[in-house]
Amino acid sequence: MESQNHFDVIVIGGGAAGLTAGIYLSRAKMKTLILNEGAIGGQMVLTHEIANYPGVESINGYELARNMKSQAQKFGCIIKSNLKITELDLNNEIKKVIVNNKDTFTAHSVIIATGGRSRTIGAIGENEFKGKGISYCATCDGDFFQDKEIIVVGGGNSALEEAVSLTKYASKVTIVHQFDHFQALQHYVEEAKAHPKIDFIMESKIIEFIGSEKLEKVKIQNQKSGDIIEMKIDGVFIFIGYVPNTERLEGIVDLNEWKEIIVDKNMATNIPGVFAAGDSIAKRYRQVTTAVADGTIAALSAAEYVNNLKKELILT
C-alpha cells in the first residue's frame, strides 16, 4: 500500500514520548507521522526548568521539546500539530486515523502517546475565574500576587514545592488539601510546614469560587464534618495532578479504572500493532525521562511489528 497518507507508523501525540518514538522510528527509516492535538511538547513545555534530564544540566521545557521536534524532523518524521482526531479504526491490519479537516491517514502500526492534562477541581466558577485569580502555573502568574493572600490546592510534590516558591510574592499562602496527610516527598512537606508564611487547611475542598470581575473569595468544605467556610482570597493556584487524555480511546483499547492505557513490558496494548507510551499509560512515575523510555520501547516494538508484517507479506 503506497499513498501520501499511508505510513509505517502513526504516533498520536507530540510530547516527550511521541517525539522520542518519532526520532527512533524515522532514524530506522520507518515512514512516520506524528499527529498532535495541541502544541508540540505536551506537559514538557509546562515545565519552566528541567534539571534532571541526564546529560543536560538545565533546560527550559520548551527548548527541550523544540530540540526533540527538530531532531525527529531531521530524520524525516512528519509532524502535524493542532489537529483533532475524529475517528480511530485500530482493529484491522491497516489502522485508520481521521482528523477534523477530513484527512484520513493509514498505517501498519499506531503508537498512542496522548499524554495527560492538569486536573481541574470542577468547582463552581473555576472556568469563569481562570486568569482572573485562578492559575495552574506559579512561575507564570506568581508575580501578579505580590503581597496578596493566596491558596494553593493540592498535596503532592508540585503543590508543596510551588507553595514555597509562591511565598516570594504572596504575603500568605494557605494550602488546602483534601486528605489528612500529604502525598509529597517528606522534604517538601517539612519545608512547607516550617515556612512562616504558609498555613494549612486539611481534609477540605474548595467547592465554589466567588467574585464579580475577578476572584474575591472561595467556599471551602471540610470533608469530615461537612462544614462550609467562606474565605476572602486574592488568588488560587491549583496543583492536583493530571488526568490521562484517553477519552476517545474508551471502548477501543483496554483502560484501567483510572482511564490509563494498559500496556505490557513492550508497550503493547490489547490490539495487535497498537502500542502506547508516556503519561497516558498505567504506570507510577511520570517524568520526561520515563516518557522518553516508554517512547523508545514503543518505537522499537512498533518497528519490529511492522518489519514482521512486511516479511509476511513478501512470503505470501
Binding site: V45, N60, K130, K132, C137, C140, F144
Partner: protein, 115 residues
C-alpha cells in the same frame, strides 16, 4: 524579544502602526513561559489559515507593553498571556491565561470571520 516566528511588536509606535495598517489584529502579550508558548504556537499555525488577520506578539515586561497591560479590558487579568483582538483599531475581545486552539478560532471566527 520573544523567540517566536510571529511579528514582534517592540514599541507603542509599532503597536499603533500595526493597528493602523491592519483591520484585524491579534496580539499575544506574554513571556516565554508554559502558559504563553502554546498560544504563540497556535498563532503561528493559524497565520496560514487566517490570512485576513495579522498575528503578533509583544513582550509583557517591556515598558511599552503598557499599551496592552493598561487596557481597561485587561484590568482584572492575573494570568499570562494577555491576548487582545482588535478590529479597526478597537478592542473587540481580550483573554487572560492559556487558551486552546478551539477557543482562539472561535473568537477569530466570531469577530473577524472565516477567510
Amino acid at each position: 524579544m520573544l523567540r517566536t516566528n510571529l511579528t514582534h511588536v517592540l514599541s507603542e509606535a509599532e503597536h499603533s502602526k500595526l493597528l493602523q495598517e491592519n483591520e484585524n489584529v491579534m496580539i499575544c502579550c506574554g513571556r516565554m513561559g508554559p502558559m504563553c508558548i502554546p498560544v504563540y504556537e497556535t498563532m503561528e499555525e493559524l497565520e496560514n489559515e487566517y490570512k485576513h488577520v495579522k498575528f503578533a506578539d509583544m513582550e509583557f515586561d517591556i515598558q511599552d507593553a503598557r499599551v496592552i497591560r493598561n487596557l481597561p479590558e485587561c484590568r482584572t487579568f492575573q494570568g499570562l498571556p494577555f491576548v487582545v483582538y482588535y478590529k479597526n483599531g478597537k478592542v473587540v475581545k481580550a483573554t487572560s491565561s492559556i487558551q486552546s486552539r478551539e477557543q482562539i478560532t472561535e473568537i477569530l471566527d466570531q469577530h473577524f470571520g472565516k477567510q
